[in-house]
Amino acid sequence: MSAAPLPAPELQVAPFSVALVGNPNCGKTALFNALTGSRQKVANYPGVTVERKEGRFLTPAGRAVQVLDLPGTYSLRARSPDEVITRDAVLGRLADLELPELLVCVGDATNLRLCLRLALELRALGQPMIMVLNMIDIARHRGMTIDVEKLSGELGIPVVTAIAVRRSGTADLLALLDHQMDQAGQVDRNRVRSWTPPDRTDMRNLQREADRIASACVSLPERPHTASAQIDAVLLHPLGGMLVLMALLFVMFQAVFSWAQVPMDLIKAGFEQLGGLVDATIPAGLTRSFVHDGLISGVGAVLVFLPQILILFFFILMLEDFGYMARAAFLMDRIMGSAGLHGRAFIPLLSSFACAIPGIMATRVIDGRRDRLVTILVAPLMTCSARIPVYTLIISAFVPNRIVGPGLQLQGLVMFGLYATGIVSALCVSFVFRRVFSSQGGTEPFILELPDYKRPDMVNVLMGLKLRAKVFLHRAGTTILAMMILIWALATLPRPPADADAPAITYSFAAKLGRAMEPVFAPIGFNWQINVALIPGMAAREVAVASLGTVYAIEASEESSSELGAALAAKWSLATALSLLAWYVFAPQCASTLATIRRETGSWGWAGVVFVYMVTLAEGFSFLTYQTARAFGLG
């Protein structure tokens, strides 16, 4: 250490801890993004898969603040696992999290009624607290006037306004935070500890008080805001709304195919160049084979699907930000109810189209235990983006690229059919599960706020996309890469004898393994190469594509793995291809999903149930498909 004594920089003091609490849809996450920018990290709370979003920032006075973005809730009387986390964090009950030094109650300025009641509930804890009226620009635009000073007086806490989506929109809040840190009061821990949930009488009284404060401090415009009502007149129309929903889903899946084409071609070309570079620099042998066939072909075959995954998530994030997801749940509640699913299951199931893991995690918004369980059990049947690589490969190899109608590609249509099969089977399976469970009780209520529509905030959408890309790339760099190395080793070793006359792979471990599995998979038309690919495909579905690439690239070393589709078209019958598609609709080829189910349900039992029913369906449907196709002479 140098001798010169320096004043201790503020950064070395433990950062001031702040927790954001608010109703769902109050723009809390936008505020969190505005405050922390990219200095945020997402982890899980211990033992549960509730996302723990934390970030840091410096106030104008240069003091460090650690901010925690808690799941949205209407009351501290928590019901769902998400809300339990919010309650426990606010009450300092989480093991590795100190009581926050300041509660920031975030409210949507255009819709203060429920938020004010939450603020009153929080105030009763006696912790240092401030309130932020977010989206004040929209409230003003609609002609609402809010007497902030009076509101602050009524609540007995400082109140500031904010516009989270604008650069300077948090200036007042930052200034207030600096001010609060100067006079951080003592928390009465006993008062916090002795908190009891409000009962029905308390709730009525709190809401009355909130309504009184709202009518004293907020004056509504003479002409009420109508934009959301006008949009809802179309989007919630019994017939028109359903048509829009169906059209939206259809456009979404067509976009996944057409928009992704160019970036996918670029990524593919990039990896081919890389492979060529390796061939030019590394002499032929085991090392070159490892780098080219193992690493580059393997990772490239998976990374190429990043554009499609991002496009799908882009739609989901945009619709969520727009406020449409709750409407979709509204439209779908009765339809899903006939299959034993709750309307709220629509959002988790829609997310499962991107990936079953966030989908299963999103079931935490469903309060009822049985409703949640049924949703978790069927979520893996929704066509996740990891199936896209497999579907794309086989469809592009076996289905002609023909236009069959205005804007209708045959390939896109087959894809749509596969998605539809997944949806229909999920509905059937949930119907069966619901029947099994129905001996013990009725249905959960469906009570859901339909938030005002708002223009999606691109910064938030892009930050959400960045997070998804990171998760995918992380997977590609770890699980998938490890699997690729394993499959390469299985397919390469042991080396063929010097006088070998068959392709090298026929001497490998992989071939032995694949042949050993033949008795089980021959009736559904799988050859030993497919069997080999299915083994690492247990780690993640899309790995099977890379594995097929590796297996066939090594088998015919002249062939570039990028022409995998052409190779498959030459080597497989149409019956085999269709059978593999059927297999992939149902097979539980994803270890992480099973692990997530275990974590969310708290037992391996339910993960086991999922595994068994999915394998049974996969084997059954593949058998049907293969034998039917053969009967039509396609074998």
């Binding site: 009624r113 509204f330 339809i335 009822g368 009725g442 249905t443 209520p445 706020e449």
Partner: protein
Amino acid sequence: MVPSMNSPQPQGPSVRISDAGSKPAGEVIRLGTAALGFVGIITAVDARHLASTEARLDIAPEELEQRLLEMGFVEGARVEIRHQGPIARDPIAVRVNNAVIALRRAEANAIYVSPILETPVAV
């Protein structure tokens, strides 16, 4: 005014009409039975008498009542049925004061409302 339903009149707290310029007119009915476009004031929130008349609910009546209160369905609040679902007119989207809440008709039957006459507002 005499309630028309068979179940006993719920013992909710006293009714308080907060909407200036609107007054209760007509009988108290269950919100779940009201038609699209209905406008009224909540007179009571009480789920105790649902069991005999409605589809089985998975939660205790007290819990349903609490959840409705949490979403802002309290005595005195103004409600308006804005939309209904494509099948069996269910669920319904109800404007409660300034927010829109979706719920099923079965659950809405725990909310007792009295229709109000008010000067129509352009929508």
